[in-house]
Amino acid sequence: MFDVMVILPLAATGAGAILIMLVAAFETFRREGISILGMGLFAFAFFIQLTVDNSGDIYPFAEVFNGMLVANTFTKVAGLIILACGFFSALAAQTYFTQNKGFVLEFYCMLLFAAFGMLLLTMVAELITLFIALEIMSLAVYTLVGYDRHSVVRAEAVLKYLMLGAFAGAFYVMGAVLVYAGTGSTSFAAIGAVVADSGYLSNPALVGGSFLILFAFLFKAAAFPFHAWVIDVYDGAPLPVTAFMATAVKTSIFAVLANFLLINPEVHQGWVTFLFYLSILTMFAGNLIAIGQQNLKRMLAASGIVHTGYLLIALVALGSERFSGGAILFYLAAYGVATLGLFVALSYLSGQDERRVSFDDFRGLAKVRPYSAACIAIFLLSMAGIPPTAGFMGKFYIIAGAFQAGHAVLAVLGIVSSILSLWYYLRLIIVMYFREPEQRFEVAELTLAPLGTIVLAVCVFAISFYPVVL
């Protein structure tokens, strides 16, 4: 019975997606109705996830399916973040499609299917389940990127994403073959036991397989050698979809990585050296790209790479004494709130057909729409890590964790990178506040996005008060 309780949010999301698919076939439901339904289903799944009590490690299918899934407080909070991201992406979509073409009723269905895959991904404890969850998520997100068939830009974005995503997926599968050959099992616990027993180096198949799996995950998380696709795909996707990819996909990927690395210290130890260098390279590569961007969406994509770098620092420090996944989730929540806030604000400010997307287009926004500009400023300051925002606390926990784990170099470089990132975050604030307005920033009436922006701006401060046990 308890097994069923744990996967109830998962079931609710999947059933919700199918419900929307069915409802979309009827003429009576139009865009507004489906939007509200989609948001309602996300909220519903969120509250179910909130009420499920899964403290401690629980293996929902321990007896039936050989320990396929694991549930604990970590997976629960990761699921909450994903569902909240889904809710606000749906809210952004509601507003976005009042001024933009290319809406299909199945949009929210794909959003829910993607969230379903992500929830499953946070709970996996086994290579087969991981692959299926990864693909459920990826296929739904590919569709979301390219469903607007009349736009050439979207088609190019989905081509790039699908080609590279499927390539990375094939690497993952080959990695799984080699790990399975090396250890004789596909479950994380058994792989961890083999690693703890004989180490990585005595087992060449395991080493090769781990590398291939690492490649696939670095690709999905947009870390250093595999980060180039992210800028183009985020730029080519519709705004609400970009918001969803930037936040929810990242949350689920880091949840599964942390889940895997936390099995035992030996597993973690083998990965630390690579993650150490990758985190440094990711941060600085992201900063370099972001500084050169003129387009807001591309800048946010590049800054997403930088945030991946910080999360990799957290993974390096993970599992060391008194440092749990709490800091990772806190950072993901803080980053998610700020990013979603920006995208929700952009969804009503960007105007018809995403007209306003570059820095210069937002000249003088503060004079015309002071509240929107203030909210955007709050989100940007949170992403840059200025106190007392959630972004500052997230960075603080991660850097403190790196110090505790004895990686002082990493902590210092993290701070340097955070100072560099001020360059492009403050640039937008300067443009908004210290330039004369040239546009009237007219927006569509009766939309939810302005309200959502204010809620998220409040969340930026509210989350920063939430204590994390380091």
Partner: protein
């Protein structure tokens, strides 16, 4: 015996990687990705035999199902691109360049 199967599997996989990297036609690229997935399938079945367990068989079946779903999506994208550009060479898709 198992070494031969695994060598063949890795060889096929490398051929697939080579195809993805060197060919410019979208269609051939997707075919190469399918080749990579099938190479992995061969590996799974061989290793399942080696370890006398069913996990590899299950994973091979799952990979087939997912590969089919991915192929369906890939074909849709191919048709979409052909409609827009009338050509499937990856070099002509250059609207998003950063």
């Amino acid at each position: 015996m198992i070494e031969h199967y695994l060598s063949l599997s890795v060889l096929l996989f490398c051929l697939g990687v080579l195809g993805v990297i060197s060919r410019r036609n979208v269609f051939v690229v997707f075919m190469s990705i399918e080749l990579m997935l099938n190479a992995a399938n061969l590996g799974f079945v061989a290793v399942a035999r080696l370890h006398q367990s069913m996990d590899g068989h299950v994973l091979a079946l799952m990979v087939m199902a997912v590969a089919a779903a991915e192929a369906a999506l890939a074909l849709a994208v191919v048709i979409l691109l052909h409609k827009h550009k009338g050509n499937l060479d990856t070099n002509i898709f250059s609207l998003l360049k950063g």
